[in-house]
Symmetry: C2
Subunit: 247 residues, 2 copies
């Protein structure tokens, strides 16, 4: 048996998220079906660095799996890509030790969230950005971001549908950049709770639109209660951009 | 009755092309269904500047239609966008005289064709570019383009499935530009035959890959026979970019 670490990218539009669900097309089930075919009907389980929801994209998700097949490392990428549908791509495959774990070994993650501020509808970005055709006060958003940086209990920014106990996480970087009519939020941290990035973005949009003042972020964090934060921003603007490992 | 000129944009991925076909989702049928609803069941026919095939996109297609409804011009855009699916957008609506015709009045068109030259598969561009992960000799392509410029009988670059008699067209501009791993062909001309841009691109790719020399373009034009040109490049790389009108 050899363990492989595999970086994959997917357009989440036509998937019911990452995790296997009965009768749903998910990232995990599509990849496991391909591996099963390669292994002549033997089920091969993949483990991901984390789940992504329906409609959420990945530029570089990390998974691992084990295989007894004597395929040279450099051939795995082509073999998988040949069998995978066009909305999932394998970007790299490498041999790792039996102790490597895509989720437990991850030291951090980068997520990006993309808004389109265009006044006009754009059919080409409907599945890849959140269309928000209103003006936003970027300076206010940036001020609010400062209160989110560092180590906090992010209970207020976590979906109630979660079973994680410890909701303390550290956000190292948040930056907001504008390119044309596109506004991109970049979050780097040691870990993110269920729906955390989407709730952060939804709340920051409420700050940018003047519905809240930046200082309110401190109050929201203190409450440790989801109902005090803003709306969950829609899935299609979110990208799991990178999974970080020490070394 | 008032005639309206309307600029629309669409992601062609989930359409069986522009023209109405029984039991198919087409641009024309989706827009006509919306207009029919707005006109309480009365059918309203739209006329486009030209058809686009299944999978082909439009950044700015032009259509016209007539309506007796007393809707202020500035409200038409919102009214239509509210009812249209997200993969079609109305960019503008303006009143025109009863003699305006989106197709007959067009003095020219701009098409673009986008190739992705990336060695890696990209799930996000699969429906929006033609993935061609091989090297291309751009200088050879540009030399070949020179032979295409001007007025020619383009019979060799026209699908056999056409009933147009006169296959003489004028191409004013062809340019080829590289941005990152994306190669974009831009064609401006007074008119384009059925599949003409896709056959031109398919042939230019054969020049760029060394399968043909640039001078062969002259021979292909002379033959006036489709079988002498290259393959038809796939639909998803093609964009109707602009329809030109005098004045």
């Amino acid at each position: 048996m050899q363990r492989y670490k595999c970086i994959i990218s997917y357009d989440g539009t036509n998937f019911s998220g990452y995790q296997v669900q009965p009768n749903k097309r998910t990232i995990q089930s599509v990849i496991e079906a391909v591996l099963e075919k390669m292994h002549k009907g033997r089920h091969v389980r993949i483990s991901g660095s984390g789940r992504t929801d329906a409609g959420v994209h990945a530029k570089a998700q990390v998974i691992h799996f084990e295989s007894p097949l004597a395929i040279p490392t450099e051939r795995w990428e082509t073999a998988l890509n040949t069998m995978l549908p066009e909305d999932i791509a394998v970007l790299s495959v490498e041999k790792v030790s039996d102790t490597f774990h895509s989720r437990f070994d991850a030291s951090g993650k980068e997520y990006r969230y993309v808004l389109s501020l265009s006044k006009k509808r754009d059919p080409f970005s409907r599945n890849y950005t959140y269309h928000y055709p209103y003006s936003l006060d970027i300076a206010a958003i940036e001020e609010a971001c400062k209160y989110l940086l560092g180590t906090h209990d992010f209970s207020s920014f976590c979906s109630a549908r979660t079973d994680v106990e410890d909701k303390v996480r550290t956000i190292e970087t948040i930056d907001v950049s504008c390119s044309g009519e596109q506004l991109t939020f970049r979050f780097i941290g040691n870990g993110f709770l269920y729906n955390m990035v989407r709730i952060l973005v939804g709340t920051l949009i409420e700050v940018g639109s003047g519905k809240r003042v930046p200082e309110e972020i401190q109050e929201i964090l203190k409450k440790k209660d989801r109902q005090f934060a803003g709306k969950t921003a829609p899935a299609q603007g979110l990208y799991l951009w990178n999974v970080l490992y020490d070394s």
